[in-house]
Amino acid sequence: MREVRGNRRDLLSISSLEKDEIINLLNSARSFAEVSTRSVKKVPALRGKTIVNLFMEPSTRTRMSFELAAKRLSADVVNFSSSTSSLSKGESLKDTAKTIVAMGVDAVVVRHGSAGAPQMMTAWVDCPVINAGDGMHEHPTQALLDLFTIRELLGRLEGLKVAIVGDIDHSRVARSNIHALRKVGAEVLLVAPQSLIPQDIRRMGVEVTGALDEALGWCDVLYLLRIQLERVNESRFPSLREYTLLYGLTEARWFELDPKPLVMHPGPMNRGVEIDSRVADEVESVITGQVAAGVALRMAVLYDLLGGSRG
């Protein structure tokens, strides 16, 4: 949610972004992608700014991506993660936020296991807050980088048919992508057993099916979500083996497909579960491309929120 609050702006969710804001960020990310191809991969745009990565949930990829993005813009980065901080000693989120503000930082990137935590932080800090994933709510920069990747590879977004397969219920990536894809005019089909589909999700403008094969012949983009073993214990499906049987991108399914859709995954992939290992090898370049796009996109976001004055 990029809301203007006085002079301050945040990126909290995709759901509250306008279509043209999304497109502007994607366009801007293109310019930043070029910076990462130089021998000197650094521009002075955010020199003297300090960005805090407040990661209260384990994450290597997203944290690294934000850190690289900030550093390539010459910002100083402080990493603050729950395992090394006072959060594990029971300090409240509010007190942590107030402490960070007292140190005088220019932006806070928040990853938190609780939905809504970044939005709450906006009440306690006076600098932009960027949501790096909150509970099952949203992961806006992931959706933006996915859109960027799709547009680079397929040349368009509007009218594209995107199937998202897997644990929709627990996925903030799915929620952000649904909002983002719908806003730019793509069609979205969710593929999962009903036990992994959250209540009333059709109201977000998507279709739902339980049959993967129905989606495979239809989609231009096949977005696979990471499936987690603990869902078996929650009786969301009987076993990983059965999940793979019904919803995995197996070799048999993949080699039958013609033409083949663009396969995407937020990573890390569970080879042998949602995707066969050999299929994963074939489509790996797209997925590593998503990672590279992540840095450029996050540079665009940081520059958009921090570059330029507060007035």
């Binding site: 502007n24 130089r38 021998s39 521009v43 002075p44 955010l46 520059y303 958009d304 570059g307 330029g308």
Partner: protein
Amino acid sequence: MVFEARAQLLDADDIARIIRRVSHEILERNKGWDDLALVGVRTRGVFLARRLARTIEEIEGGSVYVGELDVSLYRDDVAIRRASKVGVTQIDFDVNDKKVVIVDDVLFTGRTTRAAMDALMDFGRPAVVQLAVLIDRGHREVPIRADYVGKNLPTSGNEKVKVSLTEIDGTDMVEVGEELER
């Protein structure tokens, strides 16, 4: 803010003559086109660089490297103005040991040129860096001087110089005037 023109300073013919003259000057100073690269500063500097390159190639044959620089990320005033849209920087050649001419439309405070030099240096170590501008309107705030000047134009600080080029504005001309609050 709207621009209100008070006078037209250059017309299309004037600009064409300047391009031809500056092309000759660049060739003369650098003793030919060998290792010569023209890097335009977005947006209008890019079109001027392309015109100079084309003219140089017409005069001497051969080919000149052309690049595009977006200096938004190198500006020293990001803290005091709204973030501008970032354009693409495209330098598809090795700048090491090249004779690079930075091309811009108007030289004013010199800060954009400073940013352009910083950006350029991130791509390598040119043998020499020179500066070509269509208009030099004075009021420098940093010690920068153009090597090639289309026209010197003394202005007051609150005057504005507006450069129009066919490629983007549909016509070639330079006007002076004022920016008025609406």
